[in-house]
């Protein structure tokens, strides 16, 4: 299983990075391949290439604001393989989030 994700919150100092950590941790625990892009106060880091997105089985958007490069996920959106949640949810309940994503 390969998962890509984007995390972003309004201030971009804490939640963005905590959500990244929470998703990475849960994916590693399940033995999944994971790459998480952060759009925070330090700009865009660990940016997802179109190739990364195309290869992914699932896309998680843990975002509370509009993000850059949303068009990268259009195909996955059409396939119904994108799940969007608040960053806070990803931080608090990463296991639930992954369960939900797996059932897409």
């Amino acid at each position: 299983m390969k998962i890509v994700a984007v995390t972003a919150c309004p201030t971009g100092v804490a939640h963005t990075y905590m959500a990244q950590e929470a998703i990475e941790k849960e994916c590693r625990k399940r033995g999944y391949d994971v790459k998480v892009e952060t759009q925070g106060s330090m700009g865009i880091e660990n940016e997802l290439e179109q190739e990364d997105v195309d290869e992914a089985d699932l896309v998680i958007l843990a975002i509370a604001i509009g993000i850059e490069g949303e068009e990268r996920f259009e195909d996955k959106e059409e396939q119904g393989k994108v799940i969007t949640v608040e960053p806070g949810e990803a931080i608090k309940r990463p296991a639930e989030l992954l369960n939900k994503a797996e059932n897409l």
Partner: protein
């Protein structure tokens, strides 16, 4: 070189003087006021009232209680002169806000200037935030009694 800038350079993101354990506070407002008095005293913020307002504005968007008795209220405003993380552990857990059922006891107040000049400071804050998901780390924050120990713990973040 003037003395003022030299002094300011000494202001670290995490400082032992911004760490308080077992404070008797039982509401979000009390906790924030307590922490803000300290960051003001230590010259991280030049207008405590405005910083309080900025933090409360952010709280209104979504509560910053993130579960496991942790809250990370924060504000990004031009009254913050230097980025900081201040820590308070209250003597008992309390309900963080009316809007959410989450309780808080470990409170990290984060402040960053509107225009952040230093990526390093932001990096320290983001790495520290990530550590808050680590069980062993949380356990230590809950049990250490000496602010010096907590300072060493927080300051051991690898950037």
């Amino acid at each position: 070189m003037n003395l003022t800038s030299l002094d300011e350079d000494k202001l670290e993101v995490i400082s032992e003087r911004l760490i308080s354990v077992d404070c008797h506070v039982s509401t979000r407002e009390e906790a924030l006021k307590y922490l803000i008095t300290q960051v003001k005293q230590e010259n991280y913020v030049d207008d405590g009232d405005r910083f309080f307002q900025a933090v409360m504005e952010r709280e209104k968007e979504a509560s910053t209680a993130i579960g496991d008795l942790i809250a990370i209220p924060h504000g990004k405003t031009d009254v913050v002169k230097r980025p900081f993380v201040a820590f308070l552990r209250s003597d008992q857990a309390f309900r963080w806000s009316d809007a959410s059922t989450e309780a808080a006891q470990l409170i990290f107040l984060i402040g960053v200037p509107k225009e952040s000049e230093s990526k390093l400071h932001l990096k320290i804050i983001s790495e520290l935030s990530k550590k808050l998901l680590d069980e062993a780390f949380k356990e230590k924050l809950m049990t250490y009694t000496n602010p010096k120990e907590i300072y060493a713990l927080l300051n051991a973040i690898n950037v």
